[in-house]
């Protein structure tokens, strides 16, 4: 049992002088296969494990991790973490959560596929079908970066020196296709994917391939635009990246470091009244669900933004203590340390169809892909490369590339004047189509 190993590591930490400790163990196996131009390209198998340990010596702490679970290595990890904790500074906010607050019953969120494994040939066939559908759906699809099928099975165990010891398992499956369309020397690549905790919930490989091909083909003939200020409609994929930026600015470490544009804004209006964002860890079989957080605290549903008002931050125990608040049970463990992470984050849908949102724009930009890192989390200043379709008189008129969209996230959120009804929980962070009243599109 994986928790037994953790408990023995925590015991040794106590013997070495740790006053408290917690440990996290991930064991996972992974298989992926990619097919390119109908030929197998890569087949990858892996088995990985990582034990991470956080120790407290009084109010000082340190962490260590190892992928080598041999007895010698584990002893060394404990000794190094305890030695490091003895040289770091005391921090009055450091420590495990109050033992009375950790969960006693682990809810079953149905995160594991009960079905048997497919053979490598069957997995190759799934990738092959997805790519073939893309290649066959349009004569302009002439090349491909390939299609991939992957699956993953993982077990997560968490234990503390206070006696908490629980574990849970997950599975994950995904299909992705990246076709290239070309015409008159121009080449355009796009991408589509499906991922799920249960294999049966994956979208049909042919459907994924056809959607990817359609996305690539619609980019052919892309033009640059003159710089202009217009309404901008974000498709669900790009709208989700806005939600990610908000979640990042609402997370504890950026707040106590005063490095967030959401600092001191709790309880105030940060977005249009049609905007509600929730983080829900308990949706059965969802990609971001988890039965307890990285500190053993019960997970649940947190409303980040309700009707445009910032209602909650995302905190773990340490950040909460620093800010004089309560943990929102968003501690994440990535195998090397503790951080704040979201679960299933959703901007809730409105009543308008995406067609109506696009139809409401006389002259504007429909964004389907964003590139680059131009988001300043401290000020909210926003400037990213964008690809999409120009909207003329409510219709998608022609593809556009080599432009940027820019503004400030707080102003953009307040300027949301349309929320689509097309929310699909197909990833960890999702949003429906969003319309923003005005943004600067920079081009020639």
């Amino acid at each position: 049992m994986s928790t037994d190993l953790l408990v023995s590591v925590l015991k040794r930490a106590a013997q070495r002088g740790a006053t408290a400790a917690d440990g996290f163990l991930v064991e996972e196996s992974h298989f992926s296969v990619s097919v390119r131009m109908r030929e197998i390209e890569n087949v990858n198998h892996s088995r990985e494990q990582r034990l991470s340990l956080r120790v407290f010596v009084g109010r000082a702490s340190a962490s260590a991790s190892t992928s080598d679970l041999s007895r010698d290595s584990l002893e060394r990890v404990v000794d190094e973490a305890t030695a490091l904790a003895k040289i770091t500074a005391e921090d009055p906010h450091a420590g495990l959560p109050d033992p009375s607050t950790v969960i006693s019953q682990v809810p079953d969120l149905d995160l594991e596929d009960a079905g048997g494994d497919l053979t490598p040939e069957e997995k190759i066939e799934i990738a092959r079908r997805a790519e073939a559908a893309a290649l066959e759906s349009d004569p302009r699809v002439t090349n491909s970066e390939g299609a991939e099928y992957s699956d993953r099975r993982a077990r997560y165990a968490y234990a503390t020196s206070h006696g908490f010891a629980h574990d849970y398992g997950t599975t994950g499956f995904s299909i992705s296709v990246s076709p290239i369309a070309s015409r008159n020397g121009e080449m355009q690549r796009d991408y589509w994917y499906s991922s799920a905790r249960k294999r049966a919930r994956l979208e049909d490989p042919e459907a994924v391939g056809r959607k990817a091909a359609a996305r690539a083909v619609r980019r052919l003939g892309a033009r640059k635009m003159k710089s202009v200020e217009v309404p901008v409609v974000f498709d669900p994929e790009t709208a989700a990246t806005l939600v990610r930026s908000i979640a990042g600015a609402a997370s504890g470490p950026s707040l106590y470091r005063r490095a967030s544009f959401l600092l001191d804004r709790l309880g105030t209006k940060i977005a249009a009244p049609t905007v509600t964002i929730v983080d829900d860890a308990l949706i059965p079989s969802a990609l971001g669900s988890r039965p307890f957080d990285g500190e053993g605290l019960a997970t649940g549903r947190t409303v980040l933004v309700r009707d445009g008002v910032l209602e909650s931050y995302l905190l773990d125990t340490y950040c909460a203590r620093k800010l004089g608040m309560q943990s929102t049970h968003h501690a994440g463990r990535d195998g090397s340390g503790v951080s704040v992470t979201t679960t299933n984050t959703m901007l809730l849908p409105g009543k308008t169809t995406p067609e109506e949102l696009i139809g409401s724009v006389k002259n504007g930009f429909y964004v389907t892909e964003l590139i680059g890192f131009g988001v300043n989390g401290v000020t909210g200043d926003y400037s990213r490369g964008a690809v999409g379709q120009w909207i003329e008189n409510g219709e998608l008129a022609y593809p556009v590339e080599e432009v940027t969209v820019a503004g400030n996230l707080l102003e953009m959120l307040s300027a949301i004047d349309g929320v689509g009804n097309d929310l699909v929980l197909r990833d960890r962070t999702v949003a429906p189509t969003l319309r923003i009243g005005r943004m600067v599109v920079a081009g020639t």
């Binding site: 890569n42 087949v43 991790s65 500074a89 080449m187 340390g337 590139i371 490369g385 080599e402």
Partner: protein
């Protein structure tokens, strides 16, 4: 090694190798005036690869045992067995590994007390640099990777790779406004590198200066304009605009905007760009790449003409070219692919001050954040974090961060001036491709590009 490779792989595939790795990472973070976060991570594992034609089978395990390696080799070969071998066998590895970063005391082994002391001094220095600095986060990351690779052709080589980085982030506040500044550096150097030539002090004051400066930044312009790039880290322009597009894999598959353009003019004749993994102590340098090939110096563009691709063994074999020592991987958990090392433009003739003076209306960009490129259509972006308006040859107001966007095969044709002041970056770059991160370097002299789109908000 022989047992795993020999019995299982030889004779049935075009190429095969085993990669063994042991890695230690140490991270020390100071915030709010004290080092409260310290961590140490150990990873070890092995990856076994078999290749046949365009197919690659890869298996990795973090338990290095003969049994696991043989199982990994069996899995890797299963894929190769399904196809006919191309009959075009990989050449045996050749050439002597370099010796670019031998040192008495690697940074991972330097005394912890000295590291903690330096972090505390940086905190004081950064705060003292400007009264508006309210938060300082400083970190020292140190790493040591020990790798060993054995290929089916009988080539076995190892490398011990030290790496360290010091980073300073400052947050300035004034009248309810907040801004962030960041600076740092490092390389395959000892801890003392930070103490030499006043480096740590420079990193601290630079982070503070940038944060404070941005408090008074005006909206960045929107639209196409003349941009002068400062020397050093702005070389990320090359990494995004042409570097990725010249990696062998994308060109073999014909998915790069540069595919089939070898020998053609892709830049102004002032432009010569090289990728050089052999510069002593640089962050992007390697004695041998992660396939055991000694690194080299590849001229990518010479006087504007496309002259070279960066290759790993697989793509070199399939394209009938030579491996260039650019086969890299993040760790044993990944198969290698063609990646950059240190990518930079050679110095030109122009006086940097004269280049600025030549601009009537434009932007002077000196510090950048990250960038990204769409290999297939060639569009690239990178974000200016410190930039100024230029009016009649003079630097005027600092502008807010803005993304610059351009087209790789076209952008460098508009380079009209190249300065004499080539500088390599301070040693902070990390490049991501297909989910794998590797340390890289970039470099640039001051250059002028006549027309690139600046993604600000001031129309």
């Amino acid at each position: 090694m022989e047992r795993v490779l020999g019995g299982n792989l030889i004779g049935k595939v075009d190429d095969a190798d085993i990669y063994l790795e042991y890695r230690i990472n140490e991270d020390l973070v100071l915030e709010e005036g004290a080092v409260k976060k310290a961590s140490r991570h150990v990873s070890q594992g092995a990856g076994v690869r078999a290749q046949s034609g365009t197919r690659t089978g890869y298996a990795h395990t973090d338990e290095i045992s003969l049994k696991n390696l043989e199982e990994a080799a069996r899995q890797a070969r299963a894929i190769a067995d399904r196809s006919a071998s191309s009959g075009n066998l990989a050449l045996p590895g050749r050439g002597r590994p370099h010796d670019l970063y031998a040192m008495a005391e690697p940074p991972i082994a330097a005394d912890l007390a000295r590291k903690l002391d330096l972090l505390r001094r940086i905190d004081v220095e950064t705060r003292a640099a400007d009264p508006r600095i309210k938060q300082v986060i400083a970190s020292i990351s140190s790493e040591e990777v020990i790798m060993l690779i054995a290929t089916a052709s009988g080539w076995t080589v190892g490398d011990v790779r030290p790496l360290t980085r010091l980073n300073v982030t400052a947050i300035a506040e004034e009248g309810g406004k907040r801004e962030i500044g960041s600076y740092g550096g490092g390389g395959r150097v000892t801890f003392d590198f930070f103490l030499e030539e006043g480096r740590w002090r420079r990193f601290a004051t630079e982070a503070a200066r940038q944060a404070a400066l941005k408090l008074s930044a005006v909206d960045a312009p929107a639209g196409s304009m003349t941009v002068v790039f400062g020397p050093g880290w702005p070389g990320i322009l090359l990494h995004e605009a042409i570097g990725h597009g010249l990696e062998g894999d994308f060109n073999r598959k014909g998915t790069s905007a540069f595919a089939g353009r070898m020998g053609q003019k892709v830049a102004s004749e002032l432009v010569t760009v090289v990728d050089d993994g052999t510069i002593a102590n640089r962050r992007g340098s390697l004695n041998v790449d992660d396939e055991g090939t000694p690194t080299g110096r590849t001229v990518l563009i010479e006087n504007g003409i496309l002259t070279g691709y960066m290759q790993d063994r697989l793509n070199a074999r399939l394209m009938g070219m030579k491996p260039t020592g650019n086969g890299r991987r993040e760790s044993y958990a990944y198969a290698p692919m063609p990646r950059m090392t240190n990518t930079f433009m050679l110095a030109g003739q122009d006086d940097p001050a004269e280049i600025l003076k030549s601009v009537k209306h434009g932007l002077y960009a000196v510090t950048f954040g990250g960038g990204q490129v769409d290999i297939t259509n060639g569009k690239f972006v990178f974000s200016a974090s410190e930039a100024y308006l230029v009016e009649d040859g003079r630097i005027t107001a600092p502008v807010k961060g803005a993304t610059l966007i351009g087209n790789g095969p076209e952008a460098l044709t508009r380079v009209s001036r190249v300065g004499s002041d080539l500088k390599l970056d301070e040693g902070v770059g990390t490049c991501g491709k297909d989910g794998q991160s590797v340390p890289v370097g970039v470099g640039l002299p001051t250059i002028r590009i006549d027309g690139i789109t600046v993604g600000g908000t001031a129309v």
